[in-house]
Symmetry: C2
Subunit: 492 residues, 2 copies
């Protein structure tokens, strides 16, 4: 398989699919719509998990684990939630296979092993969790209940794409219970903030915090808070959502608590999640025609060292020099790989680590041995510099910070250049079709207009930005009065 | 619910079930046989995961993720494996629910959304993984392939018990591919060793390493290596297994590699796993009639501090003193909880932390303030001592090590006292019925005899110990010649 990728400007979608496979991140499996996450892709997910998990714990959450299956009777209890997920869910109906009498060596479902009640493979866990919370919550003393789960979920999507939309995906789902509406809303917004900080500080992916319009809300939520990122092709990506669920699940599962005043009250709820979809966002925010570009804070390998040598003796001399600064780098928590394989030429290694997005590459050859230098190349700008061996540790440490910052500012600049404020529908269409990215426009607040705009332009309301300025205006489509602008974009 | 547990000698099984629920480790869910792992139980699992994951990576393994579902045609490819798991597997047959026309507000399976091919929820992942490895392995350069997965699996067991045997459980499954038989066997034995080290050094649970008799082997394995622990009620627990799979899966999925000599060869395989069952083993190795006893290395809270105070002023004075050594303890990596809740009395807190197995409890009251002392109580022996505040850090650090060691030696002593060498069937039955634990006996090597012994005594062969001494003897049941003793026990 050629290592050369389709160029982004030729076919962005093809570039993405090729990159995911060639950089060894993931591949399609024998199960329709389900992916295999390969070790290199999974290592990025592990880094994401570690940071998010730390942030969740710092904000008072604990992890737990709830069943994979949701009995049908629980699944259907919260009507809107059920309606939202029923159309695309995997259903377990039997608990045994038997030898197929007609086909030797083959198995078939045992018709006598039919479940009395079907089990839905969780597409999200509100139902099974709120049914459990009923037993955990009696009094105000049991609140707030702040729980997170790392798990796999299944949504039988018809059109799938590696990381971005898969039938099974990995995620975390927080499910919290509160005594008051105010506290639940604060929690939902806090977690939106945590997600935004993670996206910006670790993924170097700028995001806009906002709330969803009614038609884009999570099924069963009263309000959905979102973080929206912009990909290099001008399409938006919903990167994480946090929902204020009101008392919908508390009522569906009859979860009440006794207040300090001795009254029985329904509990208020939130849920929030991010998934392996983030890896898709990471790829499409920074990568280029040569391959992945990873922000140092999430790169499984931050620095790769490639020796350029002839014969064992030279390799040994190089290894000796390299050992000195590798030890020091590792002491500082930098992950370093020394690739001395003799089965590949240096050029092939350079291409491989470019494809895999390793932030810094150090090359060291015969001349460097003589001059006590190394060549340091950064993946983001492809710039190279000659550095004396005594300075490598400081240069690399600073460079890692610089790359992290550069990726963020570059992505932010791209977003600024691809955010257009429009006042007429003509301008709207022009911005969507010819500029791409976010379009800030007045909207009359109706689902009807939202649908019509989507039909005409394929753009949807990504969010009503948080801390939006209120200003008088008129809807770009209908001319009706509007008091604030919202952000539209075509989206993944 | 009363906090008092049934005593172990009255009903061990009842004691276990009560303890798991009352110590907030886990509970049964609305899904038959599936448990909810509560935050305190999950925190123990996280500690186990962290150590195991580190050990796997140190031995060269990487993590990846494979699909939850196994298409029926892949599931049935390796005949013995399929036969072993077909009888108890969850089968997905449909991908949609719809409104039930006969029951308003209820859903039913949409008969038009039947899958062409049924999907089995993975009971273990050899089939889906070896079908994937086919695409990853071409040459000897691609070997060895050393991969681990953290995942949930489902086995439709009829009789379930929290942690010990549940329909869904969490585990890790390693799946490796090798060029030679020798290398694969070494890998399988290496992972058995890693498991044994984890069990003994972290869980403080002594284990016996051995191999399984043919009838107790994993379905599809040529050899199963096991670690066997002994519980306080004299029953054995299979705590982890590592399988040499021969070329069975390589042949079923046609996975060949080109050797250095240019020949096409089938690949050799291993798989190995431990699960949340380990938590059951942990509980039944150390805990007592007051509740859990946790080894310090896996305790989510290692030290709890309970202030005994009247009024805010005294609490403040105590907090000030406590802060000094808490900071120092945390700096040393000790996890400390200061429980100043005013909603519970000190006695209730003492009982709660005893129930939850916190290794060390520190109490500090008015007299301690005057004397600059604290009371330090250890959970394992229930011994208390008065310690001057200046010495708390050292005393606690040493005590944590001492408790870890004490738990291990106590468990080892119990096992030694419950291992009986027998030479006649009379002695065998007597040992199984009246002593419990392991019985070391000669066996003629046939499955027939093994089955007969099981029928007569309920004891099974737990393992043929590694590095077994060879000695002439005669089978306890049949009197046939035998060259080595094997270990029998009743088991979970």
């Amino acid at each position: 398989m050629s290592k050369n990728l389709t160029k982004r400007e030729v076919d962005y979608s093809k570039w993405y699919n090729e990159l995911v496979v060639k950089a060894d991140l993931a591949e399609n499996s024998a199960v329709r719509g389900c992916m295999v996450i390969k070790p290199y892709g999974y290592a990025i997910w592990e880094k994401m998990q570690a940071e998010l998990d730390r942030m969740f714990k710092e904000t008072g959450h604990e992890n737990a684990y709830f069943p994979l299956f949701v009995p049908k009777s629980l699944f259907e209890a919260e009507e809107k939630n059920a309606e939202g997920f029923a159309k695309e869910c995997a259903v377990v109906t039997h608990y045994r296979l038997q030898n197929d009498p007609d086909k030797p060596g083959k198995l078939r479902v045992d018709p006598t092993a039919k479940l009395e009640e079907e089990l839905v493979v969780r597409p999200t866990s509100e139902a099974i969790i709120w049914n459990t919370y009923k037993g955990w919550i009696q009094s105000y003393r049991d609140l707030p209940l702040l729980i997170n789960q790392w798990a796999n979920v299944v949504r039988w999507e018809m059109r799938t794409r590696l990381f971005l939309r898969t039938a099974e995906f990995l995620w975390q789902e927080g499910h919290t219970a509160h005594a008051t509406k105010k506290e639940a809303i604060s929690e939902a917004m806090l977690m939106q903030k945590v997600y935004a900080e993670f996206a910006e500080n670790f993924m170097a992916m700028p995001v806009i915090k906002g709330s969803k319009s009614e038609s884009e809300r999570f099924a069963g939520a009263d309000e959905t808070y979102t973080i929206e990122a912009l990909m290099q092709d001008g399409k938006a990506l919903q990167a994480g959502t946090s929902h204020f669920l009101g008392q919908n699940f508390a009522k569906a599962f009859d979860v009440k608590y006794t207040s300090k005043e001795g009254k029985q009250e329904y509990v208020w709820a939130t849920s929030w999640g991010v998934s392996t979809r983030l890896i898709g966002g990471l790829i499409m925010t920074h990568s280029d025609d040569l391959g992945l570009v990873l922000p140092p804070k999430l790169a499984p390998i931050q620095v790769v060292i490639v020796p350029i040598y002839k014969g064992e003796e030279q390799l040994e001399a190089i290894s000796e020099k390299v050992d000195v600064f590798v030890k020091e780098l590792r002491k500082r928590g930098v992950s370093v790989k020394f690739d001395a394989r003799d089965t590949f030429r240096p050029g092939a290694k350079f291409a491989e680590y470019e494809l895999k997005g390793v932030p810094i590459r150090i090359a060291i050859g015969k001349r460097d041995l003589e001059n006590n230098t190394v060549e340091v190349a950064r993946r983001d700008t492809l710039e190279k510099q000659i550095v004396s061996q005594g300075n490598v540790v400081d240069v690399v440490s600073n460079l890692l910070d610089e790359i992290q910052e550069n990726l963020f500012s570059k992505a932010k600049k791209y977003r600024e250049e691809h955010t257009t404020v429009v006042n007429t529908f003509e301008e709207f269409k022009n911005a969507i079709d010819n500029v791409g990215g976010f379009v800030s426009a007045h909207w009359d607040g109706t689902t009807e207009t939202e649908d019509k705009i989507k039909e005409l332009t394929k753009a949807t309301i990504r969010c009503i930005p948080l801390n939006n300025k209120f200003e008088e205006g008129t809807c770009v489509l209908t001319g009706e009065k509007s008091s604030q602008r919202v952000l539209f974009a075509k989206a993944y």
